[in-house]
Symmetry: C2
Subunit: 350 residues, 2 copies
């Protein structure tokens, strides 16, 4: 395979220069994180996350993110050594103060307790606040599905989406991710921005000089545009699906920020931290044990739904493209262009 179809249907050649094993890539990324000010533990968690995204073919959340992580750490905006504080506030409710650190270590610190609560309570919630989430969202839910659980998560980001009917950006791209186990095959997992396009994909379109589809963004005058640079420079994104996507984006602000105690997407400013790129907000996770009650055979039912979807003509299930790329990466390593490899080596100080 030497080309790929991006989300907006543009077929582009995939420039390959070098293949790194996933572990090798992860070790290189961890060295970069540590060199730029994270603790070893934070470095390991973030390096695993970024390597996994790259290996899954998620260009907008893989090594593409590394310069942003590094410049954010250099700006002093995020604390790469933060030690999250986990509080067991109710039988089904865990509160985590990420203390201005990254969201993934905060989630990691509470994960064992969350699993214990889900198994005993049937459902449990993890509310993370004062956290920076700069990554794909599916890695946060897929592992629960692999343990037979159903997981939902919501994260808000930075004001770049104009609410339906409004005139200026207020919401973040505010993704929702969901994972559910299947009896046979990989879990059903989706990770969707409630904006018409993910912010990383707009940045990639700008970098590659491609237009974006209509109805995805507006320029600084609030006029519709297909120019990714006009969207990025003073313009804004629109929600997907009109007023419905806008309502879901509002829900994400309420769940990920108001409910956790984190910032709304419009609550913080990078102005005193030049180079900062990570949103300082919150994240909510809900995990359910379907082995309770009438849904005891959940994974078999999910498998039946997949069969029906295939019979109806849907060839690709949510997550399938990533799983395909993952198998390829596990078998023969992750393909990096020479420029990307050089960028990583430079960030690592090699």
């Amino acid at each position: 395979m030497n080309e790929e179809q991006s989300r907006d249907g543009v077929v582009k050649p995939r420039v390959e220069a070098r293949r790194l094993g996933l572990e090798e890539l992860q070790a290189l990324l961890a060295r970069i994180f540590e060199r730029h000010g994270t603790s070893a533990q934070v470095a390991a968690i973030l390096a695993h996350n970024v390597a996994q995204a790259q290996g899954d073919g998620a260009d907008s959340h893989g090594i593409f993110r590394m310069p942003g992580y590094v410049s954010t750490l250099a700006s002093g905006w995020v604390d790469g050594r933060a030690v999250p504080v986990v509080q067991d506030v109710a039988p089904g409710f865990i509160d985590v103060d990420a203390r201005n650190g990254f969201a993934q270590p905060a989630h990691h610190a509470a994960r064992a307790l969350l699993l214990e609560k889900v198994r005993t309570q049937g459902i449990a919630l993890l509310a993370i606040r004062d956290s920076h989430h700069f990554a794909a969202l599916w890695p946060d839910v897929e592992p629960y599905a692999r343990e037979g659980l159903v997981a939902l998560t919501f994260v808000n980001s930075m004001a770049c989406v104009v609410p339906h009917g409004a005139k200026k950006a207020l919401f973040g791209t505010n993704p929702i991710a969901f994972a559910a186990p299947r009896a046979q095959g990989d879990p059903l997992v989706f990770d969707l921005a409630t904006s018409a396009m993910a912010h990383g994909d707009i940045q990639i379109a700008a970098r590659e000089g491609r237009n974006v589809p209509p109805d995805h963004g507006v320029d600084s005058q609030g006029e519709p545009t297909c120019d990714p640079n006009a969207i990025l420079q003073g313009g804004a994104l629109l929600p997907f699906g009109g007023h419905k996507g806008s309502a879901l984006s509002m829900m994400v602000e309420l769940l990920a920020a108001a409910l956790t105690g984190g910032n709304f997407s419009f609550d913080f400013s990078w102005s005193e931290h030049p180079g900062a790129q990570t949103p300082r907000t919150g994240q909510l996770l809900i995990v359910i044990d379907p082995a309770r009650g009438g849904g005891a055979h959940f994974a078999a039912r999910a498998e039946a739904l997949v069969r029906a979807m295939r019979d109806a003509g849907q060839e690709r299930m949510p997550g399938d493209r990533r799983y395909g790329r993952r198998r390829e990466s596990l078998a023969s390593g992750v393909a990096l262009s020479e420029a990307d490899f050089a960028m990583l080596k430079e960030l690592a100080g090699d």
Copy 2:
């Protein structure tokens, strides 16, 4: 106000002939339900639901639904006297077998226990199976927000939506409803079909001879159409927002059916019950107490979000149109056309 703008922007005159007080309307509806085979308790719950929808101006889920309820009861497809069985299966998990009855009485039977669990656990789940939901979804969540809680619910329906990339209908209109309290003013509540249009709105468009917007449905050959009759007669709806709405619709099947033990939207057939119109599926509710953890000031934060949305130019909050109509209905009764009033009197045997 003597005209209204429907969801697709068509301005139509509102024909008024008679105003009934909400209680009077509810009493009339309860008589109809009882006359056609429900228990008094089920009649009271459903009559309240339908009167409330009508009073809130939700034409597609108000008295418009009454002939469908009546023909379904007459067909023997639903048990209007079913007594739901509530099981407390885990500290955060309630299982309800609706026993082929309506979803609203099943929810009602478990509501006190659900509230108790939410207050002690921080989050709780209600899984209803073998239930018929033929109503609007927001009445199921708004009352929780009025008690300071955050609620989410999912219900699947009958196969009438083609999954993204598929060729035939499989999913239901599969709505998601959400409610959250605000410090001042009515709760933020939305109720959105994951289909491009609600089924009831397609039926109303057909009845009124109006076309629907493009990209909302396909005809029996799978070709795009704006003719509501072509969509209803062998055609199908599309999900809203392309692959994202389709992923959300799949999630609703998994949560409302696989997780509860209810039918998928394609799992049942009305063929042996001519006149049946209610889907026999399941419903999931998740209720959260935001007073736990870092989000202790949830309602104040939600109010701040509303202020920011207004400042950004969004004039109407989710739920506002309904609240406006509700105030009107409470003050001066519900307007019914002469034909609708005659229909109700006939169903009541007056």
